[in-house]
Every structure is written in C-alpha cells, then in structure tokens.
C-alpha cells in the first residue's frame, strides 16, 4: 500500500517541471529516504523513462542490499558519460538525496541528455546508510562485512551501547587521574585534550558510549561490520586502517563498481557527493612520496646497463632516450613505461596543470553561489580521504573528478576588532606582494598574530617568499582561511562555536547531549554527553530541497566543460603526379583538455584516433593516427602524404570510445 502510494506520489511529481517544483515545496525532497525507498525511487524513475534509462545492479552488499546504478541516456550510442556517486561513507544521507535530485533534474529536461550519458549511484553503501534510520544512531560508515576486529572468539560482539537511552551514541567522560582531557574553561560542555607542553593536565578519560560487552577490558572495539566503502578504493588505500579492509575491492560494492566503471571507457568525468568539496576547494597537494619526473635517480644496476652515472639525476625525456638504446628494435618507450621500469611510483599530488582548472572552476563556483545568495561562510569541507572514490577517479581513471559536500554548518560571525593601524584579511587579499612587504615586519607580524597564522608563518620568511615571487598575498590569505583555527585562549574553537550555535538554533539545543551522570557497570560513575551523530552533516529535512536547488545545478554547469573533439577543417595540396599533401585540423571546442594532465600521466583515458578510409595509398603517415593530447579550445594539425590515382572522396573519422565517431568527407583531386 505504501509502495503504491509512493509511486503515485512520484508520478504526480514527475509531470511537473523542475522550475515549477523549485517554486513550490518539492514533495520528493522533504525527507531523507531509506535504502528501500531509494530503490523504489530508482525503479519509478526508470519505469517512467523506460526509453532512455536503464537500471544496473552492480553488486550485493554484505548486508544483502542491491547496489544499483541508474543510467540516463541509455538510448545514446556514442556519447561521453559522467558518473555520479553519492554517500560512499553511508553517513551523509543528504548526498543520496542530492544524487536523486540530480537524476530527476536530468530526466525533467531532455536537453540535459542530448549528448551526455549519465550514471547515477545514489547509495553505494546501503548497509552503513541504515545507521541513519536506526533507533540508535552512531554515525555508522561501515557495511556488514564480517570483520573480527579484536581477533577473539567472536565477531561483532562488542559494539556501542546507548546507555542513557537517548537514541544516540555520544561520549562518556570519566574522572581519572591519568585522564587525557579537561573541561574547557570557556564552555563546560566542551572537552579539551590536555597538552603537556602547555603545562595542562587531563582530568577525564574519554570513551565512546558503551560497555565492555565481551569483557576483554576494551570498550566497543568489535561492533557490527565492516568495511567503509568510502575509503576502500585503490588510490592511497591503506590496509593498516581496519575499516578500509585489507585490499581495495575486498568488499563487493567496491569490486562491482570498479568493474562497472572500467567496462565503460566513455566515462569522462566523475562527481562525488559526500564530505569533500573539490568544487569549492581544489584537491590538496603536499603529500610526500610523489615521483619527481624532472629529477630521476637511476638505480645502479640499471645505470650500468644504460651506461650512466647512478649518482646523478636525469630528466624523464633523457631516460626515455637512454632506454631506447637497450630495448628490442621496434619497441616503443613511453614515460609511463620508464616510470614503471624504474619503479618511480604513483602520483600522489594533483598535477599543476589540473590545479589550474580546479582553481578556475572553484572561483566560478564561488561567484555562482554568491549570486544565489548562498552562505559560504561555513565550516570548511574535509579534504578527500585516502582510498576515497573521488581521489581514485582522478588518479586512476585520469579524468576530472569533482566532489561536493552539500551542507556545512555556518560559522558564527566574528565581530571584527579592527584596531588602528592593523590590516584585515580582506585588505591583504587585494594587495600586491610589494605593497604587502612594504608594511614592514612589525605590522606583518601583528597581522599574522591577529589572524592566528600558524607558527611557521614568520613575518621575515613571508617577506622573503613574496619578494622571490613564490607566494602572493592572495595565496597566503587563501591558505590561512583554509586552515583549522586553533583554539584561542579564552575562546572556543571555531568548530565548537559553530556547532553549538547550530544546535541551539536548529536542533532546539539537542544537537549536544548535556553531560549526565549514570552508573556504568565497569567504569563506575561516568557522564554521558557530547555532540550527537549527524549534527555536522545532516540538516533538518525541511532544508534538503533548498540546499539541493542551489548547489546541484552547478554539476550541470561543469558538465558543459567536457572536451569535445571534432574534425574542424582540412587542406589538400596537389603535389603533382597524383601525390597530395593532406592536412586535417582537429579541434577541441570544450574547455577542458583531453586527457587532463593526470590522464596523460597514467595513460588510462581511451585514445582519440583519426582514421583515413578511401581509395588512396598512404605514402607517409598512418591510416590510424592517434591524436595524442589536445588542450581545451585548441586545434591540432595532422598531416599525411597520400597518393590517389583518380579523383576520389575519402573519409576522415574520429574513432574514440569517448567522443563518438565524427566523420568528415574529403575530396581528393579533380
């Protein structure tokens, strides 16, 4: 009955256009949907659009739930595709709603799917997602994969326990001489970790709410599940993190998705709705361990073979040339082959050229949000996690990967205490490097201190870096804004302030469970309290629609940046005796290059090949010519020398798994 009602409701919804829906309250997006409801919505969306959609069940979760991808544009043969995945960690229900909202939006106007195919995966971690609807909530992110976390005789025997019966797993604090935390002087609710270097001493030990169910002296060390799908993908995967599993793909949701995506080489872009936000903050760099291809050390045994000095460093181009001398004749040497042979390792930081478009789009996105009067003065999104889908899509598929967290708790507006003679962040942001340096060391030091700059930012050091041109005031302010603000003396951290204020305003203060004494079976007198799960990530359901309405359409904007490769123009020069010089200009009229820099490095994106067909003989050049890399809004010229005995028409075809087969007819001779 409920199912029937729901489909009826959906049907009603589907006949109204997005614009109208935006104007009215949207019945579909006024609540968070459970796994079963998500499945039902996907089925309905498919049934109502049977001609252009398809459902793919790509895996069954360890908990027995289907992992379902909705394909939109299944009627298109040769078209680039965009993959949209949401809520990989299972504890951000808003992102699942975002994916469903996006699917509906795409289906409401055929213009969105004229030349792009979409794959929408709203719920890749359904086992964990059940946690939001459970009677006791613990911000669950692991699936039902059976893991014996404590290696004892039982599995899942010591999970959390809702001791105070409030439906949330919060924290326990216990007075203890060897404690690690003390009560904040600024707010008795907040616990602060004691820093021995500052002469602080802990008074409390902290535990997650629960008892030692299996009596092994440890609390909550072996709860139900599992593997967190959101950190179980192969890039920067760590088997040392128990919740990632021991190899990437061990859990079927991940394995099934990896196969599904690699079976579809036309996927040219990926969106992830979750906790990071590459749309707003470009992916972070600065990880150690990346290979520097401009400074390669050659291990001594290979150095001997190549006849080079093992103590020196070489550039990639040089090593490629050296390698050519020792490989069998006819074997092609590529940089990625050299990198593999010498064991240079994986890329771990976003490549410079790619950061350019990430930065550009993030600036555009900020403008876009500003125009929509959307508050961006919120707590910063978290960086993408190791093993996450969004990092994997960029580093392993070599395609643009954008992510979005659809909600952040607003910051509490600080009153500006602008003293005379000091400069504000906003002022500095607009200054040139010279102007800033001209402020002098004292003023700069004052500015850094007033804005809580990290200790390594010294006035002297910054002036030097500005002078050398390595650092601009704008970059510096950008970095400072993205840094977590340390707790100032006599003041709560920015996060605590924001969360407590948010709890007051939108959760009737119940976003923080006040500390309350109970008697614990083994710990004695304890107090239970703390932030409740989902406070930070999940706004009240009546906010869902308005949040999605503003942010989700940006994904549509980004999809327009895809490269688009076509034959632009050709030139035939008659050299006499039936010999012709043929020049074909291939253009990319999209904004993004193909492939992006990471795609060039990993060689994963499918090649674009120009194929000549017709009654001709090719004297110089190939009948299948790989286009190679092409920048955004750029043209590349390919040249052949051909022989045609009589007047003829040949075809030049773009052969590509991504862009479809564009054909151009060319007349030769006559």
């Amino acid at each position: 009955m409920i199912k029937k009602l729901l489909s009826y409701l959906l049907l009603c919804v589907l006949i109204v256009s997005v614009k109208q829906l935006n104007a009215q309250s949207e019945p579909l997006f006024n609540k968070y949907h459970s796994g079963n409801e998500v499945q039902q919505i996907l089925k309905t969306l498919h049934q109502n659009n049977a001609a252009k959609t398809q459902l793919h069940n790509i895996a069954t979760s360890p908990g027995g739930e289907q992992i379902t991808v909705l394909e939109i544009g299944s009627n298109l043969d040769d078209a680039p595709a965009i993959f949209v995945g949401a809520n990989f960690e299972g504890n951000i229900p808003l992102s699942t709603e975002g994916a469903l909202y996006f699917a509906k939006m795409l289906l409401d106007s055929s213009s969105y799917t004229e030349n792009i195919k979409w794959f929408i995966l709203p719920l890749p971690n359904p086992d964990a997602a059940k946690g939001f609807f459970a009677s006791v909530k613990n911000n669950r992110s692991v699936n039902d994969f059976v893991v014996n976390n404590d290696m004892d005789e039982a599995t899942n025997e010591d999970g959390f326990d809702d001791l105070n019966g409030d439906g949330f797993i919060t924290q326990m604090r216990v007075k203890d001489l060897s404690g690690t935390h003390f009560v904040s002087k600024n707010d008795p609710r907040i616990m602060v970790r004691a820093d021995a270097k500052k002469g602080e001493r802990g008074e409390y030990k902290m535990y997650a709410e629960g008892i030692d169910n299996d009596e092994d002296g440890k609390y909550n060390e072996d709860g139900e599940g599992g593997i967190n799908v959101g950190i179980a993908f192969p890039h920067l995967f760590s088997h040392k993190i128990k919740e990632a599993g021991i190899w990437p793909g061990q859990t079927p949701e991940v394995y099934g998705l990896l196969r599904f995506i690699f079976d579809r080489p036309n996927i040219a872009m990926a969106y992830t709705l979750g906790s990071s936000n590459f749309c707003l903050v470009p992916p972070k760099g600065g990880r150690r361990g990346g290979a520097n291809l401009e400074s390669i050390k050659i291990p001594s045994r290979y150095a001997r073979m190549l006849g080079v000095d093992a103590s020196k460093t070489y550039k990639m181009d040089e090593v490629v040339e050296l390698m050519k001398t020792i490989v069998p004749a006819g074997m092609e040497v590529t940089p990625s082959m050299v990198a593999g042979f010498l064991g240079l390792g994986a890329a771990v930081n976003p490549l410079d050229d790619d950061l350019k478009f990430y930065t550009k789009f993030s600036e555009d996105y900020k403008e876009y949000l500003k125009a929509k009067k959307f508050n961006t003065e919120t707590l910063a999104p978290v960086p993408a996690k190791n093993g996450s889908f969004e990092l994997w899509a960029y580093y392993h598929l070599g395609i643009p990967s954008f992510s979005m967290n659809l909600f952040s708790v607003p910051k509490v507006k600080e009153e500006k205490k602008k003293e005379d003679g000091t400069v504000s962040m906003e002022d500095v942001e607009k200054m040139s490097a010279d102007d800033f340096s001209a402020l002098g060391e004292d003023k700069i030091a004052g500015f850094l201190k007033a804005n809580n700059a990290p200790e390594r930012f010294t006035a002297k050091g910054i002036i030097e870096m500005m002078k050398s041109g390595r650092f601009s005031p704008k970059q510096m302010v950008g970095m400072m804004k993205n840094m977590p603000k340390p707790e100032k003396e006599n003041e709560l951290s920015e996060t605590d302030k924001a969360l407590l204020a948010w709890s007051e305003k939108h959760w009737d203060g119940k976003g923080f469970t006040e500390w309350e004494k109970i008697t614990h079976p083994t710990l004695g007198e304890v107090e239970i309290g703390g932030y409740v799960p989902y406070l930070k990530s999940t706004p009240n359901q009546h906010k869902i629609d308005s949040l999605l309405q503003v942010q989700i359409p940006w994904l549509m904007q980004l999809s327009k940046k895809l490269p688009n490769i076509l034959p632009a123009k050709e030139k035939v020069t008659d050299l006499g005796a039936g010999v012709y010089k043929l020049e074909i200009y291939i253009e990319n009229n999209g904004y993004l290059p193909y492939p992006i820099s990471m795609g060039q490095r990993n060689n994963q994106p499918a090649p674009v090949v120009v194929v000549l067909e017709g009654d001709i003989e090719i004297l110089e050049g190939k009948n299948r010519t790989p286009l190679g890399n092409i920048g955004g809004n750029q043209v590349k010229k390919l040249t052949w020398l051909i022989k045609a005995d009589k007047k003829t028409t040949i075809s030049a075809k773009i052969d590509s798994a991504v862009f479809g087969n564009n054909v151009k007819q060319i007349n030769i001779g006559g």
Binding site: M151, M305, I326, P328, N603, N623, P626
Partner: protein
Amino acid sequence: MKKFIIFTLLFSLAIVGFSVEKGKIEVPLRFDRYYSYDEVNEALKVLNKAFPELTKLEVLGQSEEGRDIYALTINNPKTGDELSKPGVYVDGNIHGNEIQAGEVCLYYANMLLTKYGENEKVTKAVDKNSHYIIPVVNVDGRFHFFEDGNTPSSNRSIRVAKDDDGDGLFDEDAPDDLDGDGSICQMRIKDPFGRYKIDSEDKRILVPVKPGEKGEYSMLGYEGIDNDNDGRINEDAEGYLDPNRNWGFNWMPPYVQRGAGNFPLSGVGLKAIDDYISDRPNIIIGYAFHNTGGMWLRVPAEKSTGIAASDIAAYDVIGKEAEKITPGYVYKPAYDLYPTYGDFDSHLFFIHGIYSFVGELFMRSQETYTVKKEGPKEDELESFMRGTRTERSREQLKFNDNVAQGELYKDWKKFEHPVYGEIEIGGWVKMSSRLPHPFMLPDLVHRNASVVFLSALQTPEISIDVFEVKEIGKNLQQVRVRLQNAKGLPSMSAYSVSSKLYPQDMLTVSGGKVVAGGKISDKRLNKVNYKEKKPEIQFLSVPSYGVVEYQFLIEGKGEITFNYESQKAKNINTSVKL
C-alpha cells in the same frame, strides 16, 4: 594474410621441435613429456579416478575465455576433516608460457598418491595435511601456448585485451608464425650496413660488428608482419595483463607497474582462486611455480614492506633446505630481483596469513656441453636486456645439436616476407630456453616437488600437555599447561598476529572455574602474565620448534579440559582430573 599462412604451411616441411608425446595418460603419470591444457585436466581426472578416497577434483571457476580451472584436493578423510589439518597449497603456470610449473604440480600429486601406503614419509604427509593443487592457473595461457605459434616468453598474459600501442584497437598486432612451425622465432635480413655478422665458429650465431667492420645482417625482431598496417611490427600482442601483478595486497595501477590490470583481481579466474583460498583458512604454506632462473623467492616483494624476524626465520627453515634440494637455485627475498606490487605471494602472506614461496624453475645454465665448468655465471638479466649472444650461445647450440638432437633450435631458412622481402627465419623454438628438454624434466619436477613435500612435513604439529598440578590452597589448584610445536613452521605467522588478519589460536579451559590464568614468562621464577578478563580463554600462537606455557588457578574439583583451537594447526585437547 591468411593465404600467405596457408602457403607457408604447405611448404614448410621441416618442422623443428620435439614432438609433444600423445601417449595414453595413466597412473602413474609420466614426466618425460609436457601435458597440454586438456591433458593436464585428463591427468587430474585419472588421478582422481584411481584414488577416489584420497582425492577430490573440482572446478573452482572459469577463465576469461571460459576454460575451467581445476583444483585437486588430496586429503585422507579417515585422519580428519580437510579443514582441520594444516593446508599445503601449490599452483603453477600463472604465466601462460611457464608450463613446466604445471608438471611440478602434477608430479607432486602423483608422488603423494602413488607412494601413499608404500613410503612412510609420504603416508605421513598425506595423513597429516590437506594438499590443494592447482596445476594451471592461467588456463587460457597454457592452451594458447600449446596451440598457437609462440616464443618461449610470449603468452604470459591472461586474456584481457589491452590497447598496448594506443591506437584504439585491442591486441591487433601480435607476432605471426609465418612459417607455420608452431614457434615464433627471429627474423634477420642480409644487410651490408647491418650491425651483425656471422660468428666465425657457428654460422647460426650473429655477433655484433666491431666499429669500422663491415656488417652482414640486421635483426628484425620476432617473426611477424605489420597486421594493423601502422608501420610497426608485433607491437600489440595479447594482453598485457600480468596475472602476477593483479592481486590485492599493495596493488599499484598499470602506469606504476606495467601489466597490473585496471583494478585488483580484475582477472576473473584469479578472483575465483582468491575465493577458493579464502574458503580454506587452514592453508599455512603456499607455492606458486614459475620459470625461470632457479630461485626460491619469499616476501616481501618490495623494500618498503618489512616482515618480522620470526617470519624470516620460519621461511629460512624451508628456504635454506630448498637451495640444497635444487642445486644452483638461490633463496632470497623477492625484492632482491626487482620490486613488484600486487604479486600473488604477497597476497598469500599479507592477506591470507600463508607462508608463500615463488619457485622459479629451471636455469638455462643447466644446458651444459663442456668438460669442466668454470668462469663466472652469466648474468641472465643482463644478457637478456642486451639481446646478445656470448660464447654461451655456441655451447647452447652444441647442447641442442648433440644432447637434444636438434629439437630446441630452428636453423635459419629463407623466407619471402610481405614487407621486408627475402629474409631468414630461425632461432630458439617455443619449447626451449625457459623450458627444460623433456629428458631433464623428471629431475626438475622431482626436486621441486620435494621442496613442497619438505614444507608439508614442516607444518606445525602441536602437542598439549599438563605438566604440573599443585594444590595452593583450599579448593584451589595451580595447573600448568604446555603447547609444543615439533615443527619449523609456527602455528601463525607473526604478521597475522600483529595485523589481526584472523582470530588468534585459543587455549580454553572448561570444567572448572578459572580464577586466574596467563602465559608463563619464567616458569622457574614463577612469573606469569595474568590476563585480566576471561582468564579461561587465552589467545596465543605457537612458535617454530617452540613451546608456550600457561598457568591457571582453578577452583573446585573434577575433570578439567584444555582445548587448543587454531585455524591452521590441528585442534587438540587434553584433560586432567583435579
């Protein structure tokens, strides 16, 4: 092109290479021959039929091309259930061309079964262990290696097409068996400007010309044509997906390591094998046989991953003997060769807690034709990379001529190539170089199977013993229990314990109330590390040739039972009356 092959087939009269014996397959199996993919399966079926009580034959999954992957289990059900005994896993031929690895597996099975009841040691190993034997992992590879023209080194990949040359086509330009003799040999062309000339002693050998010297030949690479007409020859053969770089532990993508495949265990047959191993948590030692070079390789496969000293010691128990059982083979960590990621052996050790070895079968230096061995050993990697032949080539050719009756080398013959014109085709045939001539095979399979056999005997044998009972108060007894391992492999690897790969071994006490209990750290000084909670369950592992001792303070009287439970070692118990 087809016409062309038919033409050459008709006119190539002298087919070089030893004939693959097609004799009847019966027990005991013969090992002076190589078995094709179908024949391996037939051999397994014959063994299964002859020893129905001791064997179980099953298909664990299918390959990319749909071929069955067989596993033979040898277990004596009369001495216990399969999963209750330490498991010995052995596979081979994960690289399609490394076929003698399959014969080692078949030999191991044949030896255990035919000597059971006759040889005391073999009988013991069959009764004590479960043996899991997968002779051919890369079933498509073995099939194509026999059926198609190949070099000794081609057809390693599993059959997942890859666009090696970036032209949008997949596997479209493999080498071609132009003369239809079943081997992909070398092509050379007469060329006054070439960089090679005929060797003064053996006219089959080309040697590089010295500076200023006149050349006679150019080398044109492996036999083949430009199938895709792109100006290159043989640049996009089958795959390449290296099935020994596609496993889950420490997997790295293909741009970091060629052949890795798109994602861990993307190979469907490999995934089926991983599932098969996951279902058998009793496996404690594993072998994967390859060719070539004469090596016993242990983990780790790259230097940034370390393993505990006690695990190295456990490896040494077998590795140091293995070197002697197979003269000339070297035992070393795999990273010593070159770093690899996502290799099968690391997956066994770091995911499944199995001590794992790679056996690199055969050394070409065993093809001798000389009165006395002297001089430094040839660096095989270096000579391979240079692609040159040294004086060793002359000796190898003599070996071919007078020991192998000319079956390993094809003399150079003229051939009309569609692009190059008149060329010559010749060189080492498919069944050479990395494969011993069948006359050497019995020795190879026996010695290598003996290493697997030795490690079966070294799997843990735990005994349990109550060695002291003392009354220490009213109704309170102090009981001491000893677990002893008579063999060289510990009951768990140190890595499994530290990384919590699976539940630890347990010693549980039942029948009385255990007031306190813990591991004895010094029994003479009476030092015990008491376990604070649940003292009646102790978690442990029993080291290589070692003992662990526990003390329990038990209240009350009656029959007390001590149970030792382990995933990999056999479960045992003992009782004492208080």
